[in-house]
Symmetry: C2
């Protein structure tokens, strides 16, 4: 009954292209090895993304009351105006729970990048991800900003995507070109994982660039819409991090016409930005820590949007439901049970539950659908679960994953001795 | 700084005694094998608890919108008056998501017990736990009510406790005798696990009897208080079941004086009932599915009770926090992070976190407490975590557990083929 329909808002003509954050005109990127986590390690861990011309910027940050220093600094910079031109980001240390020292370190990163780029400090956004509660080895970072700036290129996106990874198993990058008027614009981004990350915690970082020409307020609208329907629809373990950050920079260098408020082009841009965000969000879920299933949960016909959201999130966050998926068990009992405690208004005798297109429960009761067919759906690495409340007209979609023994093992045992000893020695 | 203090409300002189639900005067119990889950199995699965004299009753049920048939029937019977005299309960089938047929089956259990006991149907409470979404084999139950009633004895509590177990590894029973006036009264109970149970889901059942002499309204007050500070303070996987039920029956047969409204004795009874409930609740957490740690989370000095509760529950329900405990990792970063997203008003720079009595984080920053000492605390099978928000005066306590690979494995893989085939054949 319910197939793999996409959200209608994502219907936009586009071409998938290479290039990530440097796909759009006028952007360069680079990454270097700063040894943030370990001075001996050779992996890339410091990234820079720059617009070569004036730009507008918008961003969305974690709702966690405990906010990392770079998040606080970015919020300040955004308030001072949106002439943001660059993003400097590191992995290996989240610079969270680090107090005033942490703020000074985030400022040092922004200041260092600004000096080498000939910009003001407030034009630089800062992102950090990694261990929390430990002092940033900021001198290792500032020492590398010179070579970081020197190496900026229009094909540096892959290096930047690699540098922001923590426990991600692969870099996340996506870019599209969208015909618009007589020309086109491009939107591209890189991201890193939302699954909470060893050994302490993690973060979701997403940096997007576009050469579309639009005002800061138009960009703001599109970013809010995009985030609400992508990053706010994913959940792996239900935890929101201290560092979650989505930054979008637009420099207006495309040959597409300027996008005016309320125009068809504005709608097109909004849909295109959502598309990029949704693809990156799905990559994050698919690469969640030790995840083996990608599950789309669709709630239909709730009384209100809020009710639809409550049901979707209760099911997506239920440990028991996630365990059942991991075991390829089409367990509608656990699903209806989460529906029941979601806090949404529901009527048990009206609830229908589908795995893929197959009706597992109708009106809150078991159906005659052969178990073997339901199992076939849940055995797939990607499937959807539809919950029809048959009470109203509100719908909601979330993307989530299963919960595996490996997830628990990873998050319980990867607590390594090195971190202890470093903490004790006061080293970063 | 914070030691193993007990909640002040539990300070009451008492003697722990044997006897469970038959410890109090005038109660008898029994259990038989009805073969609810499997006609061939020989385990006890049908229990009966009876007061031989008129009694008052109060009960608290699941807040899940999806309520099992026996829960709905009990709610009706309570509304009709509180002259409840008996509880009949089975394991092996939860009689949940079973529609009108389920209601008829719950009624058949109550009616069967009433007839054999010479009572009215509305004087019987019904409890069920086990698989959901499958028709109850009610005729197997009603066929056994005769022998169930015949075998009632004043030492039948252990059999009843065993009969309501599902994936519990041990029966849960606790009883106390409390000096009161020139005499004493007794309170005793049996319970079964809250951890969601294989193969579909489970439930928390708790049946308590007392011979204290008090009015239905006084009992009601004590039951609300007791449940709020015991069963509502435990969480294993954050899910609330379709069948959760706490029933308390009081028959006034004790030699203690009648307990008057607002008296010191009323306060004593309330504390004593809370003590019994808390012990049973702790047994439930300690015997959660594949649980290896019992953790008491204490939130101190929140702005409001609601804030304190939000923080305690966010920490107790965090998958990542629970994984860290499983790995004996004193990870205050994950704790403060859950504090941050709890929705409570907090100030990061004021948050102190203790493992046992040891300060792990002060003012949101790492302390110099040696990691080895913190680890020693978290390696214990029982420890407490204190979160001092330093903002107000409200406190809250919850009891929870770790999350183990075995929990996931158990809940993912114990989905057995027998259930499938039975569902398909329409058998219970």
């Amino acid at each position: 009954m319910y197939d793999n329909e996409e959200e209608s808002s994502t219907r936009v003509a586009f071409k998938v292209i290479d290039g990530g954050v440097t796909a759009a005109k006028g952007f360069r990127a680079n990454a270097v090895t700063a040894g943030v986590k370990n001075p001996m390690a050779e992996r890339l861990d410091l990234a820079l993304i720059v617009s070569d011309s004036p730009a507008v910027c918008d961003a969305v940050f974690t709702t966690n009351s405990v906010k990392a220093a770079p998040v606080r600094l970015c919020q300040q910079h955004l308030k001072l105006g949106s002439d943001i031109r660059a993003i400097i980001a590191n992995s290996g240390n989240a610079n969270a729970c680090t107090g005033l020292t942490g703020i000074q370190h985030a400022k040092a990163m922004a200041k260092g990048a600004a000096e080498k780029l000939g910009l003001k400090m407030r034009q630089i956004m800062v992102g950090s991800t990694g261990i929390i509660g430990m002092t940033m080895p900021v001198e290792r970072i500032t020492a590398k900003i010179g070579s970081l700036v020197e190496g900026l290129t229009t094909d540096g996106s892959d290096k930047a995507a690699a540098a922001i990874m923590t426990s991600d198993t692969r870099p996340k990058t996506f870019a599209i070109e969208v015909p618009c008027g007589n020309g086109s614009f491009r939107i591209g981004g890189i991201a890193k994982g939302a699954g909470m990350i060893c050994p302490n915690m993690a973060t979701m970082l997403c940096f997007i660039t576009t050469d579309a020409k639009l005002s800061a307020s138009e960009l703001h609208k599109a970013v809010r819409h995009g985030v609400e329907h992508s990053f706010n629809r994913i959940t792996i373990d239900g935890d929101t991090s201290t560092n979650d950050t989505v930054i979008v920079i637009s420099n207006g260098q495309a040959d597409a016409p300027a996008i005016k408020r309320g125009s068809e082009e504005a709608q097109l841009f909004s849909c295109a930005l959502h598309k990029v965000m949704l693809e990156l969000a799905k990559m994050i879920v698919g690469d969640g820590e030790r995840v083996t299933k990608f599950v789309e949960i669709r709630v239909r016909n709730a009384r209100t949007n809020d009710d639809a959201k409550r049901v979707a999130e209760a099911v997506a966050k239920s440990t028991l439901v996630k365990c059942s998926w991991h075991g390829s068990d089409p367990n509608w009992g656990r699903v209806i049970h989460a529906v029941g405690y979601s806090g949404a208004r529901i009527r048990e005798e009206l609830v229908d539950i589908y795995f893929g297109g197959l009706l597992a429960a109708k009106g809150g009761l078991v159906t005659q659908t052969p178990m073997a067919e339901l199992e076939k759906v849940v055995k797939e690495p990607r499937f959807n679960v539809t919950i029809d409340l048959n009470l109203g007209t509100a719908n909601y979609v979330v993307y989530t994953s299963d919960l595996s023994e490996e997830y628990v093992d990873f998050n319980a045992s990867e607590y390594n001795a090195a971190v202890h000893s470093k903490r004790q020695k006061g080293l970063a």
